[in-house]
Symmetry: C3
Subunit: 333 residues, 3 copies
């Protein structure tokens, strides 16, 4: 039994296997390889694409998905071990994970950081606790990484660019009124590195570098394939030669939990918004974003509505890659 | 591809076609004409009948329905074009509609007015935006009209009255503690007019007339068939000869957004409540209401629990007419 | 047509019939005896196990389950007859129950007490009103009793103990920061009494005795089978000889609605927490709890993580007994 918590646990070949199955499932009708099985979808945070693509994808594989929202429709949950549970949580993940494992064949979890202490959030305790106590595969629907989004992005890029080795991947920070999760940024960095891109991370200041765990993984992955990882704060230079511009906003880790201090820096970099002028610095570079995206804040209407934009394809591909991944994890064929 | 936004877009014959299929589906077992298809049900407002009848009806046709609640379980959405999205909404309907169109075969939307400016609400922007950007059929689950309720009402009336031409339809305003949506009133007016009733609109004052778009449509539809449209404030006269008394409360449009000023008028007309005395002014007239209905506020227990009341039948018929309509829109047979 | 509101309405033989079918369903694959049918699951209160086990269990029987949350996704409901509905509720249970009965083949209801006046709550008005007005079977998903939990408990005990007659059942009150529902305590008492246990109720003071309706039923059921019902406040004596220790917290009925006065008593009895020392007073006694359970408040980690603990089995058995019960009620075979 294997979980799907982060793509760092999977080889490039294994991930390519998921992508190949996904492409076949996308191409046409398929049977229901997981008929009679079931999955619990636990949302600690909101969702539109993830909810729809997992619930519908599971159904198309023959499975039944149960959607649970702990703290809303379901009981709040404790994740720490050994604690005297006299606070809000009514039950412990030990019970939740073990009971759900009796009912369903897989447990998928969305659990964003709490945004108070990065030292805590980087432990990814919620999904790690489910993985520790569940007796069925646990799937990451976005915590501090977003591996399903990674697969969707890669499938979309392979559809457009073919083999991605040696292509240039630009991950650009963009402004957003709130400090957001680094999950998709972490994920974009490591999947681009794993699939042979030359990777550039463009961000306002060195403080916007991602967690060392992901920076080092990306450095190691690019190096092993003779590729480069570059961090820069020079917008125009970064766009030069990019085959794909991937935009995402995130909060700077050194300011975690004291976000008021980060706000002036963030506000001073609204000009990182992706626009047509910047895109024209690339050789027909593609644009994408994981969604949800704020128009004319992260990226202009002009870019989003241009043929360069492949964010809708990427969103569509969520359902195909997730079906392939679930099918592999749950023994479907 | 056709949307189902308002019955004004459909001919009487087309709508009768839906009703005929609905009656056949109600009569007995049927196959699953939309096997393998799917529908997203977007609820911006609460629902019991609509949720149940759409989710279950879709299932009975062989479809998978995904229920989404933007702003609760899903992200809040922007509907204006060209806006700098630095407010609450995290994504734009352009993305939502296009992404959902990749996942599902139809999108159904419930989006009530905001009750601040009728000039805005009457544009029906939410569902119109979905219709503009979706590449699959968009279905109205109640916005400023409620076309599914119209079909359910008509099927119920045809079950009881047979051919409806020349019968008398009374739409009566009733008291409710809050100013409600005009959607069902608009819908009752136009469907009754379209199906050949002589239509009477009974309301407290001329200010309770409905939007000119629907008043004029009803006038034109009745006239074309040699029938009448009457607006009156005389309760007893209005009930005379009614074959069906259809009750609904709504807020007066001239007071839109300054509801405190409307309250005294509303409060002065509590006696519009449908009761047994009024019903006895009709020749065995039927009573119905779209639900939810407040007992002993809009209508007395005595009327609701009498054989004249066909509101439960009308509610049941929601599922049958919606199945017929979805089947037609999505190419089922 | 029969409802499933309380096991007091069913004979021991009938209940054993459910348990036998549940054991067969648990043992291996089975067909879909309720194919094409449907059920509405109404949650007035949160749920994880109940939601999952009912929605998934219904699916495994071939049914479609519709989940409704009145007051959240659906309209608030009035339950009193004859009332002028000018408060919050937008519709009456008479309409809700009758309309749902047109759509679905069964209605399951979770409705906890309001915790203000026990004289009101003990009438179980919400589910009784559904049972009165629905024209399909109504199923209790926990109100002031929790009969599905009872069946799950008994199936689990029969798996471990075989025939239960003459075994000793200890129901022990435990501390919880809030005054909880007596439903599971009521249910444990009557199902243990019905299945031939010698039953001991251990609680802090006489004020924690359960409602006379359930105390008297348990007394009568035990007496009829030559067994005993004992109420005690002596912790160590109570554990002596117990084959099963069943823990639950509840609020003392004499303090209903004035819970601040009960708090000192509750706080003074934190030592009722189930721990290893107490468990060792039993001859290999089993431990269980209905879940959710607060670790190290109601019961220690040591006990919960020991082989004596059968709470996960009991939770799993919810799905099996509910499938058996639904199958019997809805004529599946």
């Amino acid at each position: 039994m294997r979980h799907f918590l982060t793509t760092l646990d999977y080889s490039r070949d294994e991930l390519q296997g998921f992508l190949d199955v996904a492409a076949r499932m996308k191409a046409g009708p398929h049977d229901k390889p997981l008929e009679g099985k079931s999955i619990a979808l636990l949302f600690f945070n909101p969702s539109l694409r993830t909810r729809t693509s997992f619930e519908l994808g599971a159904h198309q594989l023959g499975m039944k998905a149960i959607v649970l929202e702990p703290g809303k429709g379901a009981w709040p949950i404790e994740f720490e071990d050994g604690v005297v549970m006299d606070g809000d949580p009514e039950e412990h993940v030990r019970e939740v994970a073990r009971v759900l494992s009796r009912y369903v064949d897989a447990i998928a979890v969305r659990a964003f950081p709490k945004f108070q202490r990065w030292e805590d959030d980087r432990e990814d305790r919620v999904i790690r606790a489910f993985a520790a106590h569940a007796t069925v595969p646990v799937i990451n629907m976005e915590t501090i990484t977003h591996p399903c989004q990674e697969l969707a992005l890669l499938l979309t890029l392979q559809e457009r660019l073919g083999r991605t080795d040696g292509k240039k991947f630009l991950l650009t920070w963009t402004y957003h009124p709130k400090p957001l999760n680094t999950a998709v940024a972490n994920s974009a960095l490591i999947i681009a590195a794993k699939f042979g891109f030359d990777v550039t991370l463009l961000c306002p200041t060195p403080e916007y570098a991602l967690d060392p765990r992901y920076m080092e993984a990306a450095a190691s992955l690019t190096k092993a394939q003779g590729r480069s990882l570059t961090v820069t704060h020079d917008v125009d230079a970064a766009y030069q030669g990019a085959d794909i511009v991937y935009a995402k906003s995130w909060g700077a880790l050194p300011y975690f939990g004291r976000w008021a201090d980060e706000k002036p820096i963030r506000d001073a970099h609204r000009h990182f918004m992706v626009d047509q002028r910047k895109m024209e610095l690339t050789p027909d570079g593609l644009f994408s974003h994981c969604l949800p995206v704020r128009r004319n804040v992260k990226v202009t209407d002009e870019v989003l509505d241009s043929p360069r934009a492949i964010h809708i394809d990427e969103a569509e591909n969520r359902i195909h890659v997730q079906k392939a991944m679930m099918s592999a994890l749950l023994g479907g064929r």
